[in-house]
Amino acid sequence: MTVLETIDLKMVYHVGKVDVGALRGATLQVESGEYVAIMGPSGCGKSTLLHIVGGMLKPTSGRVIIEGEDLTAMTDAERTDLRRRKIGFVFQRFNLFPTLTAEGNLKLAERIYAGKNNQDPARRRGVLRLLGLEDKMHHKPLELSGGEQQRVAIARAVINRPAILLADEPTGNLDTENSEIVLSMMRQLNKEFGQTIIMITHNGEAAARADRVIEMRDGHVVRSTVAADVARERSR
């Protein structure tokens, strides 16, 4: 089942009197439970694509369909609601609330999703166990390592069972060891919970963990390859 489809997506930024085309007709499909990596040089439109798919930006033209709902036909409030229901974000800079503990960050996401009285402690425990964070729940972000912070951010992103997890360079601020841990856990999330993941990365090794790698250039999707093939190509 197709969970995400973008059709001829275009995005033009107006910078002063100059129009800059960040996306120039990006079209792609992602199936439910798929783990997709998006690669490409800086400025090729990866982040713009991610923000549009996450409902944080409205494209200039084209369509974005998430589980049958046309994001581009929605108002700002409707896009926010769809993001609440169906999207989880993970950022390069973790973006945790520094004043809240790890648990507080998770509870806040649950509260935004379900309100005060409809939270799911069992789901929270399951996610925390999977991400190895059970003993870190009462720590604030500054008391955690970068890898732990990113794992909390991932836990927060998936705590409400989003249809799609959007990760923007999730290992960009991590060392090799922590990158490895985070990537393994994302893979595990994908396998155990069937979590659909779309990950932007510059890191070929990180991309190799995905099922498929989409390459972008100049605002276009130029290639979609099974990740194992990409790894094989790189190893040659």
Partner: protein, 392 residues
């Protein structure tokens, strides 16, 4: 969300403290100023109405604290009791009978002077001691009575009530006792007696002396009229109005209401204080929350990335503002209470912290905070999520 609000408040202690103090300032302004005004007004009215005389006879014109205090001839007291007959000095005067049902009448001069403590004001009575005691329950608990102000040595004598004696200080800064010197109308008076209960002003001097010091000839401020029986009051009032038209004749039960009318300018002042309090609360919270929003732009971006609606963001900020305002209100109440205790211990001012005004002050503080947070909250809710989350 509640933990986010609590965390934001505790993580920014200086901002929180300044905001709380700002709101508290508004609350203190309202509670203390209103409390002071009400307390003094109520106390004065209570002492005015707690005399034995049922009727007060006043000169024509506005009944207020302002203006020349000695505007009524003190001869009205004798006229009311004994009637008026033509004399050789004034053969053309229209004869008038004694007012039936009157048992005593006493002329009283009333003057408002700045408090010796330097804060607020206090009343001073000029009395004719012998007739005054016939119209009130005044009794001496220490010392001898007040002289007539004519007999040598009695001109600068004063009597004070027990409250004044307990809390007041003489010119040497010592507790007031018999023989102490106190300053009245810019002159030093010797305390000749202490009396109870509180009746009219807390300090009384001979009417004659007040007349000489104020240049009021043989005038007084009003005449207190005591009836033979309380039920005769209406009849006596009617007779007084008949024989002495053009003057004010009122029942002492009306005094508190008249005080309220006379203090209309004070009500305007209180309205200004309330308005200022609202402005202070709104501005303090607006500035505090606006600064917070700028500091927390990135966090607002995170909230948006999590799917938080505009309403959620507005409510988060409004709740934080309401919580800070609530703390400001509580702090303000504590400060007002301490202020009341200090004022009452160090001055002769009374502060009434009425429940109604505490509630109004609380509403002003909290609503002011909520209103002040509207703009920052709306601004936060309308931030572009991508720009906000990229904010450094």
């Amino acid at each position: 969300m509640d933990s986010l609000i609590a965390a934001n408040i505790s993580q920014r202690p200086l901002r929180t403290a300044i905001s709380i103090i700002g709101v508290a300032l508004g609350v203190v302004l309202v509670t203390l100023f209103v409390g002071l005004a009400r307390g003094m007004m109520r106390d004065a009215a209570r002492r005015q109405s707690s005399v034995d005389a049922e009727i007060r006879f006043l000169p024509a014109g506005n009944v207020s604290l302002a203006g020349n205090p000695l505007m009524l001839s003190s001869r009205y007291a004798d006229a009311i009791l004994q009637g008026v007959q033509p004399t050789t000095e004034d053969p053309d005067i229209e004869p008038k009978p004694p007012i039936a049902g009157v048992s005593a009448a006493s002329p009283v001069g009333e003057y408002v002077q700045g408090s010796v403590a330097g804060i607020g004001f206090e009343m001073v009575d000029g009395i004719d001691y012998s007739s005054f005691t016939n119209t009130t329950h005044l009794r001496l608990v220490e010392g001898h009575g007040l002289g007539d102000g004519i007999t040598p040595g009695t001109e600068y004598e004063a009597i004070v009530d027990r409250y004044y004696a307990d809390l007041g200080r003489d010119t040497d800064g010592k507790r007031v006792r018999i023989g102490s010197r106190i300053t009245v109308l810019g002159h030093q008076f010797r305390v000749a007696a202490i009396y109870e209960p509180p009746v009219l002003a807390r300090v009384k001097i001979p009417l004659r002396t007040m007349q000489q010091l104020l240049g009021g000839a043989e005038n007084c401020t009003f005449v207190m009229v005591k009836c033979e029986r309380p039920e005769l009051a209406d009849q006596v009032i009617a007779e007084l109005q008949r024989y002495y038209p053009g003057n004010h004749v009122i029942s002492t039960t009306e005094i508190p209401a008249l005080y309220s009318q006379g203090l209309a300018p004070l009500e305007i002042f209180l309205d200004v204080v309330i308005g200022l309090s609202i402005v202070i609360s709104v501005l303090v919270i607006l500035l505090a929350m606006y600064t917070t929003i700028i500091e927390r732009t990135r966090e607002i971006g995170i909230l948006k990335s999590l799917g938080a609606s505009k309403r959620f963001i507005v409510m988060t900020i409004e709740k934080e503002a309401a919580l800070i305002s609530g703390m400001g209100v509580l702090f303000g109440f504590v400060a007002a209470m301490l202020g009341k205790l200090w004022l009452e211990a160090n001055t002769r001012l009374l502060v009434d912290l009425e429940a109604k005004w505490l509630l109004i002050a609380a509403l002003i503080g909290v609503l002011g905070g909520i209103i002040g947070a509207i703009y920052p909250a709306m601004r936060a809710a309308n931030l572009d999520p991508v720009e906000a989350i990229s904010y450094d």
